[in-house]
């Protein structure tokens, strides 16, 4: 393909360049204006004391130094790390399992796939509301159902040992259907001949998965891992769900780093400090993405 591309005429090349920038311009200008410029401004704020009422003072690295003595901040980093470590593998496993389950045709498969995806089309505002009702202490429907098992008095969102796990489970319920769709898309591209060949070789289900399905899914896996990691660290559930259901409690057990930064900025008016925290989080995300890239040996994103 690259042979075809390599046309010698520089005039045509220049025309192609101009056309390309023309195509890029509307979206490019929009992205710069509404994403890049605000982002740079936002990060720069980490170097200032900003109270949200128009008072600004240059603070150098003071905001970063303050982090050392902030025990709740470190707890929040811990909460986010734990959330990520629990959520990413569980969501990965569940959604891959679901994809394998609904991969081959059976009656009603469309409805089953739709049902599995359904939670994801509902807004987190509604999802948070719903689960708060279902998980009400003592009188909620979940406690009623689990009552006979001796779990009727468990406070799913009110016990610091359980609240984060509960949010992880809600998140998996919410997001697994979406990731399942991506895996399904990936699975459709695994060449059937490979399975046939494996069958001829006498491979069982596990060996087929291990040697045919899994290698073919590597780019999909990379995509899923990156998106769900970003989601867990800074995503919908990490903020919306906490905001709607627990407000970071009980006893900061669900105080994710994004929720903590949000509080610092919007409840306490410490915008500079919040920006500095976000700068750290973005840096961490970049590193994690790099590690995932290395682990999955790249997502073949830039094949050309």
């Amino acid at each position: 393909m690259t042979e075809v591309l390599r046309r010698p005429k520089t005039r045509a090349r220049r025309g192609e360049g101009r056309a390309a920038w023309g195509f890029l311009a509307p979206d490019g200008i929009g992205l710069v204006l509404f994403v890049v410029v605000p982002a740079l401004l936002a990060l720069a704020v980490g170097l200032f004391d900003v109270d949200g009422f128009g008072n600004i003072k240059f603070a150098g690295l003071q905001n970063f130094r303050l982090m050392a003595g902030d025990s709740v901040l470190w707890k929040s980093f811990g909460v986010t790390a734990l959330y990520t470590v629990l959520f990413v593998p569980v969501a990965f496993g569940v959604s891959l399992g679901l994809a394998l389950l609904v991969r081959d045709h059976f009656p009603g498969i469309g409805a089953v796939r739709a049902a599995l995806f359904l939670p994801n089309v509902i807004s987190l505002v509604v999802i948070g509301l719903l689960w708060q009702f279902l998980l009400t202490d003592k009188t909620g429907i979940v406690s009623r159902i689990l009552g006979p098992l001796g779990l009727g008095d468990v406070s799913w969102l009110g016990d610091p040992a359980l609240a984060l796990i509960t949010l992880v489970l809600i998140s998996v319920w919410f997001l697994a259907g979406y990731q399942m769709l991506i895996f399904l898309a990936g699975l459709q591209d695994v060449p059937r001949e490979l399975y046939d060949a494996a069958t001829v070789d006498g491979a069982g289900a596990w060996r087929k998965f291990r040697h045919v399905t899994w290698p073919a899914l590597r780019p999909t896996s990379f995509f899923v891992l990156v998106t769900s990691t970003v989601n867990a660290v800074t995503g919908l559930q990490a903020f919306d769900l906490v905001f709607v259901t627990t407000k970071g409690g009980p006893a900061n057990a669900t105080s994710t780093i994004v929720f903590y930064a949000y509080q610092q900025a919007f409840q306490f008016g410490r915008f500079g400090y919040a920006a500095a925290i976000c700068a750290i989080v973005v840096a961490a995300l970049i590193v994690i993405t790099g590690i995932l890239f290395a682990l999955t040996r790249g997502g073949r994103f830039d094949e050309d």
């Binding site: 109270d51 016990d159 006893a251």
Partner: protein, 445 residues
């Protein structure tokens, strides 16, 4: 925002949200000029709020003002939760586009004052008008004898209990708890597989701290030392108050989560049978009367510790004017007109708010007298609130965020995570002392 879920910008951190305040302020100077002939009033009552009586009061307030003044007031309703914990107000302020008039709770007062966002209302208040406010209620809205906000109401906290729940547990009015020991004991007795015996706030926030302070004060404790230069939390009374809240949960008498809006929601919790006793404010009286009038309940002062004295906290929101708004003077004039007018219409307006649209205690003597003349406190629970409970009250302190947070973290880990009261109060004390050594704003009180 656009884009598919997993990457949507809405998704990836809400956190540093505020970050761009820098830009904000840098550029606020060249913001488009705004029409000074109109001022905006952001609130969480009306139009479109509930209950209708309160929304209507706000609409009428704006209409009355607009009928007789050049500068017009435009109401903007923001749902209560968004107003109180959402980003709307703060985003607007950081972009230099805050409302001209808004409502503020004591916990936010110093942040706004120290940020230079509040107009001095003193020039718009006559001597008599200031004197008309009940002793103490202007205190948390005053800095160096200048008034920066006017309270709309006084809202004391009390113990409400369900008469039906007491009857079912074969308890009588004589069993309504008067001491902490009785509170825990009766709470346990009222606990069934379907109902908690008692309910205290469990969600972290300003409201939870507010409801805990009375228990601190009863035993003679306080958050700060008398000179406000150091923490007073590392002491017996704070530890005991923490322990009480912990015991309520560990004995199973109080839930780890409340229902509905929160522990300030009487309907979802007390009236609908989630809890048999609930610590809540005077607003519950109107709430129950409007939404569940058949519900039978009683009101009692909050129980006290051995050797303690009765105490309660007095809540309430204040109306303030934005010093960085488009027309600060008109805004200040509006606030003074709305809540401090001495003429009959002004008194009647406040009486309507305090005892008709809502139930609470008026912040002004003339309004209290007018309400009393209408029999507002003549009988029943309102009389208990006015005569027995309110006199033991102290206004909600205006602690800045750092102070609030230290208390909140200690209370949360004690109440819900089984932490040792002595350890958490000592840690909170250290945090507060560090903060006080750096603090440079107005007196905390």
């Amino acid at each position: 925002m656009s884009g598919a879920r997993p990457w949507s910008r809405r998704a990836v951190f809400r956190a540093a949200a505020g970050a761009g305040a820098l830009a904000t302020s840098a550029l606020a100077g060249c913001a488009p000029s705004r029409d000074p002939g109109e001022i905006t009033f952001w609130n969480f009552y009306g139009p479109n709020g509930t209950p209708k009586s309160q929304a209507d009061w706000f609409v009428k307030l704006a209409d009355d003002w607009n009928a007789s003044h050049q500068v017009k007031v435009r109401l903007r309703y923001i749902p209560p939760q968004e107003y109180q914990t959402g980003p709307t107000l703060q985003t607007a302020f950081s972009a230099g586009a805050g409302p001209d008039v808004f409502l503020i709770s004591p916990g936010d007062f110093l942040r706004y004052y120290n940020g230079g966002a509040l107009v001095d209302l003193t020039p718009h208040l006559s001597e008599q008008a200031r004197a008309d406010f009940l002793p103490g209620v202007l205190g948390t809205r005053t800095v160096e004898n200048r008034v920066y906000g006017l309270p709309m109401e006084i809202e004391p906290l009390a113990l409400l209990y369900s008469e039906q729940a007491f009857e079912k547990a074969r308890l009588s009015e004589a069993d309504v708890p008067k001491t902490w020991e009785q509170l825990l004991d009766v709470g346990r007795k009222l606990t069934t597989p379907d109902q908690f015996g008692m309910l205290l706030e469990t969600a972290p926030g300003y409201y939870q701290n507010f409801t805990w302070y009375p228990f601190l004060w009863m035993g003679g404790g306080s958050v700060l030392s008398a000179d406000q230069r150091s923490s007073a939390l590392d002491a017996a009374a704070p530890r005991a108050a923490m322990k009480l809240w912990q015991d309520a949960v560990t004995t199973g008498a109080a839930p780890r989560r409340v229902r509905g809006k929160g522990a300030n929601d009487s309907i979802s919790n007390l009236a609908q049978g989630y809890a048999a006793m609930q610590q809540i404010g005077i607003w519950a009286v109107a709430e129950i009367a409007q939404q569940q009038p058949d519900f039978r309940y009683g009101v009692a002062p909050l129980p006290v510790p051995p050797g303690g004295k009765p105490a309660t906290a007095l809540g309430g929101w204040a109306m303030v004017a934005n010093a960085k708004g488009r027309n600060p003077q008109a805004a200040a004039e509006f606030v003074a007109w709305a809540l401090a007018s001495l003429d009959d219409a002004g008194v009647e307006r406040c009486r309507q708010w305090n005892t008709v649209a809502k139930t609470n205690l008026p912040a002004r003597a003339s309004v209290r007298d007018a309400a009393a003349a209408h029999g507002a406190f003549a009988s029943g629970v309102m009389r208990t609130f006015a005569d027995v409970i309110a006199p033991t009250g102290t206004p909600e302190p205006r602690y800045p965020p750092e102070l609030y947070r230290a208390v909140s973290d200690a209370l949360q880990s004690c109440q819900l995570d089984g932490a040792n009261p002595a350890e958490v109060t000592a840690a909170a004390s250290d945090q507060i002392n560090t903060f006080l050594s750096r603090y440079e704003g107005a007196a905390i009180q």
